[in-house]
């Protein structure tokens, strides 16, 4: 099978204007992936499906991944002028200091497609694309028109991550119920506080026990009072 570099070159030759980025995978599995721009995705998918040499006719797995906003701490070397007292004389000295700066790396939602070929018996080719952000620009093109197996899996990602697949034929929630509001697989999902207090027979008994104990205590207190007066 072609390497990711060759596939990248083939895509960029066949789909005009498409930019493909290789995402290296440093783990032992070495399954490197290709990141495509959402705008080109459909054309790239058609090419991968139809190309005589690749023939990636089998889309096995579609995965959603959530990358929340991340605070990155970077160490930066800063040179600045400091007034210092050297040998009793005040002098302006240049000094290089290491400083830790924090910056927020914006998050996104990612969808990963694992492609195989039944005709050529090779794979996987891993294709991924990212949304602009996690809040209001979460649209990605649906690849269901190229590979039907994306139909339920994209619905699942819409359900659990909130990625909106444009031109999906039937974009409804798959696993959660229709009235459900949030997306439970997101990293910052908070479970609703929907604890319901339900009185049981046991609680009724407990209430009677408490009532009984209080009455007894009052009775004892009353007797003590009479003893003391005698």
């Amino acid at each position: 099978m072609k390497t990711v570099e060759e596939i990248k070159a083939a895509i960029e030759a066949a789909v005009p204007g498409a930019t493909v980025e290789i995402v290296p995978n440093p783990s032992v599995s070495a399954q490197h992936s290709l990141r495509v721009q959402p705008g080109d995705a459909l054309a790239v998918a058609k090419f991968l499906h139809d190309d005589a040499e690749l023939r990636l006719d089998f889309l096995s797995n579609v995965t959603g991944v959530d990358w929340p906003d991340r605070e990155v701490a970077e160490k930066v070397k800063v040179t600045r002028t400091v007034t210092k007292t050297v040998d009793g004389v005040e002098q302006a000295v240049e000094e290089t200091v290491e400083e830790t700066r924090k910056r927020v790396q914006p998050g996104c939602l990612e969808v990963v497609y694992h492609l195989f070929s039944v005709a050529r018996k090779h794979g996987p080719v891993v294709v991924r694309m990212r949304t602009v952000n996690r809040t209001d620009q979460v649209e990605l093109p649906s690849l269901t028109s190229v590979w039907r197996s994306a139909e339920f899996q994209e619905r699942e990602i819409f359900d659990l991550y909130g990625v909106v697949f444009t031109s999906h034929p039937d974009l409804r929630r798959l696993l959660m119920w229709d009235g459900f509001k949030d997306h439970p697989m997101r990293r910052d999902y908070v479970e609703p506080d929907d604890f319901e207090y339900e009185p049981t027979a046991h609680d009724e008994v407990l209430a009677r026990v408490n009532q009984h104990a209080a009455a007894q205590q009052a009775e004892v207190a009353g007797q003590e009072g009479t003893d003391a007066g005698r």
């Binding site: 096995s60 039944v118 039907r148 409804r172």
Partner: protein, 402 residues
């Protein structure tokens, strides 16, 4: 969208085509027009229909007896397995994989162990590989036997064929219990091998059970194939074309019954499968009967593999002595591992960020993805056949809903 305004099968069937304009080359189920007279009837088959073996609903729109539209509804058994697995260490998810496809816990263990081994580069000793193959193929035999049994049961032959299947299944489950301590929730494989070694006595017992399996398969086949009703009800029903099967990501016996030669044991040769001689049976009528026959033939091939594995199994350790089972942190990266489970391609996709828990843990459920084509197979057939077509897909709801 509220519950009330959610999907109605009749609206979809009677409405002017589909709501979305369909691009070229769109691989959708055809829109069947009702015959004209009379009203459509919407039937919710499920979530407690006996044929679903769990909780699953099919919203069917009927024109008389004919199916016009069918929409599967999932999620009754959803417990967000993937989210739970992201919150615990790699090892802690191993017992939970048993609960995905609870008919075949050992293949689930294997697929997960394989994905983690790909991620960490962990080697597996020879004897453990043989034990995995033996257990995987025993799992396949018992799954296919009971799947056929259930299919016949749904056809109305209540009891007898299913009990024949369960007779063989129980013998295999007894072997699992002897080795792992549990009939169904085995929790047996580890990253870099297997949890406990098989004794010589266990291997001897397994040889005896495997020696008795061909007789069971012959008997089972004679019992079923000589039945006229079975032939009449399954042949020519629920046809799935090979092009659609590949495009819709259908895998396992379903795909091979549609005549597509794709068996991950042959294609990937994971574990030590390239050492064994076995054939891949293929269907050529693409119907329910073919799916049922492919499962029978695959049982025979599994027995062939079992005989070879039980003959060749070497001695030695079952765990790599250097293997880290718990408390390890894989390097940042990702891996996709897949095996040929009895139901189809079972894959695990793991992303590590260098922490002790997986950053992303994804199960590729063959049962869910095989259901993509349920509507295509069922359209235009009688409502009584829907049960059969659905049974021939062979799903387990624990895996569909996760």
């Amino acid at each position: 969208m509220s519950e009330a305004e959610s999907y109605s099968a009749i609206e979809q069937a009677a409405g002017p085509g589909s709501a979305v304009a369909q691009p070229e080359g769109w691989n959708r189920p055809p829109v069947i027009q009702p015959d004209g007279e009379g009203e459509l009837l919407e039937v919710a088959m499920g979530p407690h229909h006996p044929s679903t073996h769990g909780v699953f609903r099919m919203d069917v729109a009927l024109d008389g007896e004919r199916v016009i539209r069918l929409k599967p509804v999932f999620g009754y058994l959803h417990r967000n397995h993937e989210k739970i697995a992201e919150g615990v260490s790699y090892l802690s998810s191993m017992p939970y994989t048993d609960r995905l496809d609870y008919m075949c816990p050992l293949t689930n263990n294997w697929a997960y162990a394989l994905a983690v081994e790909k991620l960490t580069g962990q080697a597996v000793p020879e004897r453990a590989e043989y034990l995995r193959v033996i257990l995987g193929e025993l799992t396949r035999v018992q799954n296919h036997a009971s799947s056929i049994g259930f299919l016949i049961q749904e056809m109305g032959a209540s009891g007898t064929p299913l009990m024949y299947a369960f007779k063989a299944r129980e013998k295999i489950l007894d072997l699992f219990e002897d080795l792992t301590g549990a009939r169904m929730m085995c929790n047996y494989m580890r990253f870099g091998g297997c949890r406990v070694d098989a004794s010589a006595g266990w291997l001897e017992k397994t040889r005896t059970v495997v020696a008795g399996l061909p007789r069971f398969v012959d008997e089972f086949e004679r019992l079923l194939r000589s039945n006229e009703i079975l032939m009449a009800r399954t042949q020519g029903v629920g046809i799935l074309k090979p092009e659609l099967a590949i495009n819709a990501g259908v895998t396992g016996p379903m795909l091979r019954a549609s005549g597509v030669n794709y068996d991950i044991r042959k294609v990937d040769g994971y574990g030590i499968y390239n050492r064994f001689n076995f054939r891949v049976p293929l269907g050529d009528h693409w119907d329910v009967y073919d799916r049922f026959m492919i499962r029978l033939l695959e049982m025979r091939e599994s027995i062939v593999i079992l005989e070879q594995a039980l003959k060749d199994i070497p001695g030695g350790p079952v765990m790599d002595p250097k293997a880290k089972i718990r408390g390890f942190r894989p390097k940042a990266g990702e891996a996709y591992g897949r095996i040929e489970a009895p139901k189809g391609e079972l894959g695990f996709y793991l992303i590590s960020d260098g922490g002790p828990n997986p950053y992303r843990y994804r199960v590729r459920p063959p049962s869910l993805i095989n259901l993509t084509v349920l509507e295509d197979m069922a359209l235009g057939s009688n409502v009584a056949d829907v049960v059969l077509i659905f049974g021939s897909v062979d799903i387990v709801l624990g895996e569909v809903d996760r």
